[in-house]
């Protein structure tokens, strides 16, 4: 069974190739069948493989498969080879399963779109690249997948390319993530020049043998990898591209910019956890970046008007939680939160997509309202996702994953009270902005006429994801609540564990505080945005409130800052540089060939007698040359 591993990324890639070749000629059902079917079969295969992996684990709890040697030049050897261990197993399960549900949703959601075949071919390429990324057993193949998902992200953000704004958003996403990718490439070069290998397992063993804790090289390599992760996962200071990436179709936002691609950075750090644990400095940077991001993005999410931008900032903030967990060494907590986040955030985006489409492409939450009665199935599923995002105690998956992160932050030697408080504040902000959205969209009076689409391929993904958002967390519960640890036990061979120092009873007060804070966020949202709307509007329109509102709404001015500090000086240099002497060489060449062209085209007069005279003249010159020489 495990030998079929290669089919999992190969099937979506085959779907991509066949859609590129035949997409225009196929009817829509054919496109949908290939596009969603290839990912669906991958999901089934991934499930069968995981059953066989758990049932009879291979030696060393890792299975590797080499398809062929990609390149072998002067000692540099990289293969198209995959490795399946608990970490990559969780990743492929989430990617194929959530990916399939989103493909199924897109079959209906994109029905009217003229670029139907193009959409599914890009989506399949994305799923194939993402699976390559997480299954790769060497850094070069990982980088191939890394760039592949970046390309698909760019293509799908600018999917509706006729509006230049969408193309600009795509460019922004591509260029900003490229900044991080350069750092990642430099990190890979650094590791290769030292260890002469690209195999991740071998590299990690060598790193452990040769580099001491806190050595400069380990810190440099870890920070370079962190740079790549920050760009891909939209963390401070490279987070500016993700809110603009909402220009793409909603299923794209759900799949790429919420569930899978943006968490590639989390995967990268978890995969190279040995390297990171050698560098306390890099670890604290990861934790601080995560904490800062979750607070900044949480504040920004609080004041957005566009429902998709609220969700985008929320995604940035939740990935901040994952980085916080990674930074304190709680690797499996980060991956656990990744999994749960993939369920509820995909669900929230898909629900928002139905609302947006039903209101005739209205994305402003202040013009929605009262949709609870009109779209009950969206309301209940959205509520399940929102509850999970706000980590409502006991009943939601988000509670268990966030609780896991917070308790690990508290007990970790590199964590501490300050980071824990940041996480707690973030939890309050999360439930506040989440339920602000829920109350504004689904409660209150109706403001815009709505038409609900109830076809099965839209509702089934919503219900399945809602079920997962509620129940997906019961694999891993705190010790005060039964202490189930299926997830961490499963991950143990791939990701080292933090062992709690204190007893279970001392966790209880912390959990009570965290739960109360989440509920307080919901209650404040109820008071501010449903009960006493005038009060919150009054605060927002007062002098200081207005200023803060605008500042947060613009994402803490990062775009403004980058525009002044990087974009404009760069454009200025480019403009000044346009006429330097190097350009004169090329410009001069062009000018001379243009003059020569003018002269030669003058001889092509079309005049027969002129041609005859030139012929005679040429013959005379030629004969004279022959005779003279």
């Amino acid at each position: 069974m495990l030998e079929l591993l290669w089919l999992i990324p190969a099937l979506p890639l085959a779907g991509f190739v066949s859609l590129v070749i035949a997409g225009r000629r196929l009817p829509r059902q054919g496109v949908a069948f290939i596009g969603a079917g290839s990912v669906g079969v991958s999901a089934v295969l991934a499930m069968l493989i995981s059953i066989s992996f758990i049932g009879s684990p291979p030696a060393g709890r890792a299975f590797s498969q080499t398809l062929w040697t990609w390149m072998e030049v002067a000692g540099l050897k990289a293969g198209i080879s995959f490795v399946l261990d608990p970490l990559s197993l969780i990743m492929i399960l989430v990617i194929t399963f959530v990916g399939f549900l989103i493909h199924l949703y897109s079959v209906e959601y994109m029905r009217e779109d003229e670029g139907y075949g193009r959409f599914f071919s890009y989506m399949n390429l994305f799923v194939g690249s993402m699976l390559t990324l997480v299954l790769a057993d060497n850094l070069l193949l990982l980088y191939l997948g890394w760039e592949g998902v970046g390309l698909c992200s760019y293509l799908l953000i600018g999917f509706w390319y006729k509006d230049p704004e969408n193309g600009r958003a795509g460019n922004k996403a591509f260029i900003v993530t490229r900044v991080g990718d350069v750092a990642l490439a430099a990190g890979i070069f650094l590791l290769y020049t030292h260890f002469r290998t690209l195999q991740i397992q071998e590299l990690m063993q060598q790193v452990l043998l040769q580099w001491k804790t806190g050595s400069v090289l380990a810190t440099a390599a870890a920070l370079l990898f962190l740079g790549g992760a920050i760009g891909k996962s939209a963390q401070v200071p490279l987070q500016t591209w993700l809110p603009d990436a909402m220009a793409g179709p909603t299923p794209v936002s759900a799949l790429i910019h919420a569930a899978t691609m943006v968490t590639a950075g989390v995967y990268l750090i978890a995969r190279t956890n040995v390297l990171f644990s050698l560098s306390p400095l890099a670890m604290s940077v990861v934790a601080v970046v995560g904490a800062a991001t979750l607070l900044l993005a949480g504040c920004s999410a609080l004041v957005q008007r566009d429902i998709k931008r609220v969700l985008a900032y929320s995604t940035i903030s939740q990935i901040g939680y994952m980085f916080l967990a990674l930074g304190v060494g709680a690797w499996s907590a980060a991956i656990f939160h990744f999994m749960v986040h993939a369920f509820f955030k995909a669900l929230l985006f898909l629900g928002a997509g139905v609302v947006i489409a039903g209101l005739g492409h209205e994305r402003d939450i202040f013009r929605m309202g009262g949709l609870r009665r009109r779209l009950p199935y969206v309301f209940w599923t959205f509520l399940a996702g929102a509850a999970s995002l706000s980590s409502i105690p006991l009943v939601t998956a988000g509670f268990y994953s966030k609780e896991f992160i917070l308790s690990q932050v508290w007990i970790s030697p590199s964590g501490g009270a300050a980071l824990w408080l940041a996480g707690l504040t973030g939890a309050f902000l999360t439930s506040l902005y989440t339920f602000r959205m829920v109350f504004l969209v689904f409660y209150g009076e109706e403001k815009t006429k709505v038409s609900g689409n109830k076809s099965l391929s839209l509702t089934v993904p919503l219900f399945v994801l809602a079920l997962l958002s509620i129940t997906g967390g019961f694999f891993e519960t705190p010790r005060t609540l039964g202490g189930l640890s299926f997830f961490t036990d499963f991950m143990r061979t791939a990701l080292p564990l933090l062992h709690p120092l204190n007893s279970a009873s001392s966790e209880l007060p912390l959990q009570m505080i965290a739960s109360l804070v989440s509920l307080a966020g919901v209650w404040s949202a109820y008071l501010l945005f449903l009960r006493h709307r005038t009060f919150s509007e009054g605060v927002a329109s007062s002098g200081a409130g207005n200023l803060l509102h605008r500042f947060w709404s613009a994402g803490w001015g990062f775009d403004w800052l980058y525009d002044r500090v990087i974009v404009r000086p760069f454009l200025w240099i480019a403009r000044v540089n346009k006429d330097d002497f190097i350009d004169l060489v090329y410009g001069g060449t062009a000018w001379y060939s243009e003059q020569a062209h003018r002269f030669l085209s003058f001889t092509q007069s079309g005049n027969l007698r002129w041609y005859a005279a030139m012929l005679a003249f040429g013959a005379v010159v030629f004969i004279a040359l022959v005779v003279a020489v």
Binding site: S605, R609, A612
Partner: protein, 102 residues
């Protein structure tokens, strides 16, 4: 038999060739251009005959027969082209065909 010296024959051939070439270049009437080409061909033929007489070889005469046959073929093709030309442009002026300007 009093023979004309070879130099005069070649000189005559050269003059005829130059006259023909001048005609091709300066004449605008396409019939006259064709006739000028004939003069150039005959000038070349004359040069062959003179050379044959100079070295007492028959090859030059044979060459002249070839040139005659070639000239006959050239005239038939040329006249057909002239007919098409007149049909197309309604004139004999060669410059009328100068439409393909670079």
């Amino acid at each position: 038999m009093n023979s004309v010296s070879g130099e005069f024959g070649l000189l005559l051939s050269g003059i005829l060739f130059a006259l023909g070439l001048t005609g091709v270049i300066i004449r605008r009437n396409i019939i006259f251009i064709l006739m000028s080409v004939e003069i150039m061909l005959n000038a070349a033929g004359l040069a062959f005959v003179v050379a044959a007489a100079r070295w007492h070889q028959p090859d030059g005469q044979v060459m002249f027969i070839f040139i005659l046959a070639m000239a006959a073929a050239e005239v038939s093709v040329g006249l057909a082209l002239v007919l098409r030309f007149v049909r197309c442009f309604g004139t004999l002026d060669a410059d009328a065909a100068g439409k393909m300007r670079g």
